[in-house]
């Protein structure tokens, strides 16, 4: 009897361990008190509202959105043709290309950030925003290539040949026949890239300057100085944003098929 209950009970505890903390910060963000404590002292929306009034949060939120959207977009612009070349052509040095574009996933982000600071920002004077953009693009590139390649490999390559034989040009075949069929994969790659970039901390650690920093870095800095529930409120908001996006993606795209 005890044995039959052992595994389900562990699972229950695991779920409490994994999800409980998240529920607690959600609860803490509705606190009426001025310091972070649990159980929350009273119920109010003041911390949630405060998040929107902190100027640095607004700026870093915009920065993070820019990096996540722009970086993922740039990664896809380069990643889609590269994936196409790897899946449909006899590409010379195919393995080398694959290794190079997927390397950023293997090397810890903090090293990439420091390397860009050392060799781009300091000696050449590359603006920090640009360095951040490059770093986030490089970081997302492996995900873009992996997800797009997977959906290309699920698509029969002969439909492009069929389109060409029916009078389409090679490029036309890509836009008429390939792109409509890998749209789901591309959108999934975008969402995965967005979430990865938006939540990314180590890459951006060394790449911050006056007025230029990503939201998670800003949060790290804020929580060292101020001990109020606004970080909890912001965390909850961000968490719901991520969950909402992923949930919608799963619902409408079958996101998990691609990732």
């Amino acid at each position: 009897m005890t044995r039959r209950l052992f595994a389900p009970l562990t699972l229950l505890l695991v779920l409490v361990f994994l999800i409980g903390p998240f529920l607690i910060i959600v609860a803490a963000s509705f606190s009426a008190g001025d310091t972070l404590a649990f159980p929350p002292q009273g119920l109010s929306f003041k911390w949630i509202l405060k998040v929107f009034t902190v100027e640095s949060f607004r700026d870093s939120f915009v920065m993070s959105m820019f990096l996540a959207i722009g970086g993922t977009f740039a990664a896809l612009i380069m990643g889609i043709p590269a994936s196409y070349a790897m899946s449909r052509y006899r590409l010379p040095f195919s393995e080398t290309v694959r290794t190079v574009v997927s390397a950023p996933i293997i090397v810890p982000g903090i090293i990439v950030g420091l390397a860009l600071l050392r060799y781009f920002v300091v000696p050449i004077g590359v603006p920090i925003t640009l360095a951040l953009f490059l770093a986030h693009t490089a970081l997302v590139l492996p995900y873009a290539v992996r997800v797009v390649s997977a959906s290309l490999n699920n698509l029969r390559p002969d439909i492009e040949e069929a389109a060409v034989l029916l009078g389409s040009s090679r490029l036309g075949a890509f836009f008429r026949v390939v792109l409509p069929n890998i749209r789901g994969g591309i959108l999934s790659a975008f969402i995965l890239g967005f979430v990865t970039s938006f939540n990314q901390v180590p890459v951006s650690l060394f790449l911050s300057g006056p007025g230029v920093r990503t939201l998670p870095i800003d949060m790290l800095g804020y929580m060292e100085i101020v001990f109020d529930p606004s970080i909890a409120a912001l965390s909850s908001l961000l968490a719901f944003l991520s969950i909402g996006i992923v949930f919608a993606a799963e619902r409408f795209l079958g996101f998990s098929r691609y990732v």
Binding site: L18, Y89, V100, V101, A138, L220, M223, L238
Partner: protein, 275 residues
């Protein structure tokens, strides 16, 4: 399969050149710094690095925490994964969703939650004092325990999903067959389940181990400067000590470990494809 090589290169090169210029070249330059002291190639920076007791402590602590988190994640992971695969299909999908859900939430937010729980005025202290086990708040934050808890929560889902897919591929009826042949549950686990899910365990273990070893946020928030790990030490070396050689040494250690893990994972993947 198209034959045109020029076209293929034109499509693939922008991404490859970008990754090489923005990523590969600067990273290799950075890593080389640790081998360049006073304009000559040497390992002296590594000797210097490990000569410092603090660095040794941090290195060993990082290894220890990585190993401990992996071990505990494996034990809990097996039980949780076993429970998940025994569920009916619909519930199983939802459970996997719940396990994966935290991966989508910002690690900063996930780690921050532990401050609420483990802090001086947090839940645990509240509970301890309410029950009377302690009359003043005890310090849990900024300890190895706190970092361990944070890392375990961060990476446990990776172990569970690896083990779930390994257990799902377990040949049908081997467990009942072993039971009928007289094995008790412990023997079933050691002699049947463990050998047959070894690959999944190695995959999950590698992900958890490298994730823990290269973690920044968790030790930064829950460990502070008291419980440094390799990445937080690296950050300190750069921002406080301005010691880029030491930072390069740490970077090299991290890269070597990540690559070793990646090669291991690739081996497993190819071996699996072949069989």
């Amino acid at each position: 399969m198209f034959q045109n090589r020029t076209e293929a290169l034109a499509l693939a090169l922008p991404a490859a050149i970008f990754a090489a210029l923005v990523f590969l070249v600067p990273v290799i330059l950075l890593l080389s710094e640790g081998f360049r002291v006073a304009d000559s190639w040497t390992f002296s920076a590594y000797a210097d690095f490990f000569a410092q007791p603090l660095n040794r402590t941090v290195f060993l602590r990082t290894l220890k925490l990585g190993a401990l988190v992996t071990l505990v994640a494996a034990i809990i992971g097996y039980a949780a994964a076993y429970a998940i695969v025994s569920l009916p299909a619909g519930t199983k999908g939802r459970m996997i969703g719940l396990v994966v859900l935290p991966l989508m939430i910002s690690p900063v937010a996930r780690t921050y939650a532990w401050i609420v729980i483990l802090g001086r005025t947090g839940i645990v202290n509240h509970a301890l004092m309410a029950v009377g086990l302690s009359d003043a708040p005890i310090r849990i934050l900024f300890s190895e325990t706190a970092v361990f808890i944070g890392l375990l929560q961060l990476f446990l889902p990776l172990m569970i999903i690896s083990l779930v897919s390994a257990l799902e591929n377990l040949p049908k009826d081997v467990v009942p067959a072993a039971r009928v042949l007289g094995a008790n549950w412990l023997q079933v686990f050691w002699k049947i389940i463990l050998p047959l899910t070894r690959e999944g365990l190695v995959v999950g273990g590698t992900l958890v181990f490298t994730g823990s070893m290269t973690a920044y946020i968790t030790p930064a928030i829950l460990g502070g400067s008291k419980v440094l790990m390799l990445e937080t030490l690296m950050y300190q070396q750069v921002t406080v000590a301005n010691n880029f050689v030491a930072a390069s040494v740490i970077a090299f250690i991290l890269v070597v470990m990540s690559f070793a893990a990646n090669i291991l994972l690739k081996r497993i993947a190819t071996a699996r494809n072949r069989s």
